[in-house]
């Protein structure tokens, strides 16, 4: 007979962390057949073949061992070149970058390296689900800053100033944003940087969707806050291969920033993880250096962009006002006109029409009134789903 009282044994911090709202909705969707899902946070494209081929070659030639803790030197060199190109910031491949197990580990060790008991971490919401739980597990206090549809889900300097206290240790800057698709353009980041420059607050800029920033001109390309004057020294930049390179299952990302921070981050990584998967690292070298892969990425970004426009139009036509997202692969239509809450909307939609979209509340309380729709699906899949959603809306009236 098992007479252990697990409640008493388990860590209070862990017990207090809530399961993600995504998981709750997954449990509902998983009990149903013939569901058309618009709920995934990963590309529909497979990893470009050149990357897969390099991974296979690395296995065939027996490269199956640990790499150095911070990652293979050749890969770190490539990542630094890539960062230089993408955001115009120079990092020293020797001591200012650590290859991680996806962006997720990078978020974890960046937060752990900064937060002392009681430190406050500012988290713009709605946002990806992991920041607050990790802050809480680290003994910190997560302080949400609500971003609003009328501000195009951008972080405003006013909201930021209002949230800062003497205990503020860090700001999470999750743009391009999951779930809203909101982005921060250069001018908007300048205003945020102005608030932060005079402080000791470290920005953790999660730029995993950087390449998925839409718009024709160079001005519309992704800008990192780390590239602004006086910000490199107070910013940790997180990125990875999952989204733009369609490499979710490979679990490879990185964290980069000033040497004194990265030296501490490396200790956590070294003890907790040892090194990120070697096969993925070999593949990633090709991901960054191959012109063939570059053209595959441009192809994917273009496909996402076309689907994005179609999604925005389709929801607006249906009467669900949809903010025009300029990044990631999600749209975040407003469902307030139906009179339903986000959870009610999603539960009724999946029950009536077998279409799965995620309640905005899964990404923070401020997601109420919205649902997240992923367009990482084929056009046929999307248009079939829209037809069902439209039927659902007509039957609601």
């Amino acid at each position: 007979m098992n007479n252990l009282d697990y409640e008493k044994i388990l860590s209070d911090k862990v017990k207090n962390v809530k399961f993600s709202g995504i998981r709750k909705f997954f449990d509902i969707a998983a009990t149903m057949d013939n569901v058309i899902s618009l709920s995934v946070g990963e590309p529909d494209f497979k990893t470009p073949w050149a990357i897969r081929r390099k991974a296979i070659l690395s296995l065939e030639t027996g490269h199956t061992r640990y790499s150095s803790n911070s990652g293979m030197a050749e890969l770190r060199d490539e990542v630094c070149k890539y960062m230089q190109n993408l955001i115009g910031v120079t990092y020293n491949p020797k001591n200012e970058i650590v290859m991680t197990v996806g962006g997720s580990e990078a978020i974890d060790i960046a937060i752990r390296a900064l937060v002392n008991n009681g430190d406050e971490v500012l988290v713009p919401e709605p946002c990806f689900v992991c920041y607050s739980p990790i802050v809480e597990l680290t003994g910190g206090v997560s302080v949400p800053i609500v971003t609003k549809v009328e501000d195009n889900f951008k972080l405003t300097p006013e909201a930021l100033k209002a949230a800062i206290t003497p205990k503020t240790k860090a700001l999470i800057l999750p743009f391009p944003n999951n779930p809203t698709g909101g982005v921060m353009r250069r001018g908007e980041l300048e205003k945020i940087a102005e608030v932060l420059r005079g402080t000791n607050i470290i920005t953790i800029s999660d730029e995993i969707y950087a390449e998925l920033t839409y718009g024709g001109s160079d001005l519309n390309k992704h800008v990192s806050i780390a590239s602004l004057e006086g910000m490199r020294e107070r910013t940790i930049v997180i990125n990875g291969f999952s989204k733009a390179f369609a490499m979710t299952g490979w679990r490879l990302g990185w964290v980069s920033g000033p040497e004194p921070i990265l030296t501490q981050i490396l200790k956590i990584h070294q003890y907790a993880i040892m090194c990120s998967p070697t096969t993925s690292q070999y593949a990633a070298i090709t991901a960054l250096s191959s012109p063939e892969v570059r053209s595959d990425i441009e192809f994917m970004v273009n496909e996402y962009d076309m689907r994005r426009r179609l999604c925005v139009k389709s929801f607006n036509d249906m009467g669900l006002t949809c903010f025009n997202p300029e990044g990631a692969f999600y749209v975040f239509p407003c469902i307030k006109s139906t009179g339903l809450t986000s959870e009610e909307f999603c539960e009724r939609l999946i029950k009536a029409k077998r279409v799965a979209v995620v309640p905005g509340t899964a990404f923070g309380a401020s997601g109420e009134g919205f649902v997240r729709v992923s367009y990482a699906y084929s056009l046929k899949h999307l248009t079939d789903a829209f037809a069902r959603i439209e039927e659902f809306l007509n039957e609601l009236i």
Partner: protein
């Protein structure tokens, strides 16, 4: 793929059932412009038609598609044109293409209701035709990709239904 024309063709190649409005939304232009461009492409003979991608063997397990390679002797003045056009008149012929390489000249794709029909078509119609020197028939056993579309398998979308 920089001009609107190429972009429209790219979208249609992938899915020809989208409306002008949907294509216009995807490209950020007016539906009228899409309609005009498609009309012009048709008028210029660039856009020939819209057809479905069908898993023929699944629809009719007895149906047979074969690619027949033909060696033919080109003719005075018309070259391969007359004979290729003659072959194209047959109802069961789906594609006729003049090929480079020297191994053979014309690739003819035929779709018939059964194997016997293919064999009879080759022996009674193609092999006996003036100018046809030899034929070789290759049956399609299984399709994996057609007009850019992968044939779906159970593992097609292995992603979880819902993920963050």
């Amino acid at each position: 793929m920089d001009n609107i024309r190429s972009k429209i063709l790219h979208i249609l190649r992938g899915n020809a059932r989208l409306s002008d409005e949907q294509i216009a939304a995807m490209l950020g232009i007016a539906a009228k412009q899409v309609a005009a461009e498609i009309a012009a492409l048709e008028a210029e003979g660039i856009l020939i038609g819209f057809s479905a991608i069908i898993n023929e063997e699944k629809h009719d397990p007895n149906a047979v598609t074969a690619i027949i390679s033909l060696k033919v002797s080109p003719q005075f003045e018309s070259g391969y044109g007359v004979i290729a056009n003659k072959i194209a008149q047959n109802r069961e012929v789906v594609n006729v293409q003049l090929m480079s390489g020297g191994q053979y000249d014309l690739a003819v794709t035929v779709k018939c209701d059964n194997f016997r029909e293919v064999a009879l078509f080759v022996s009674d119609h193609l092999a006996v035709m003036d100018g046809v020197l030899s034929t070789a028939t290759h049956f399609i056993l299984q399709r994996f990709k057609e007009k850019g579309a992968l044939f779906p398998s159970d593992a097609d979308d292995e992603r979880s239904l819902v993920s963050p």
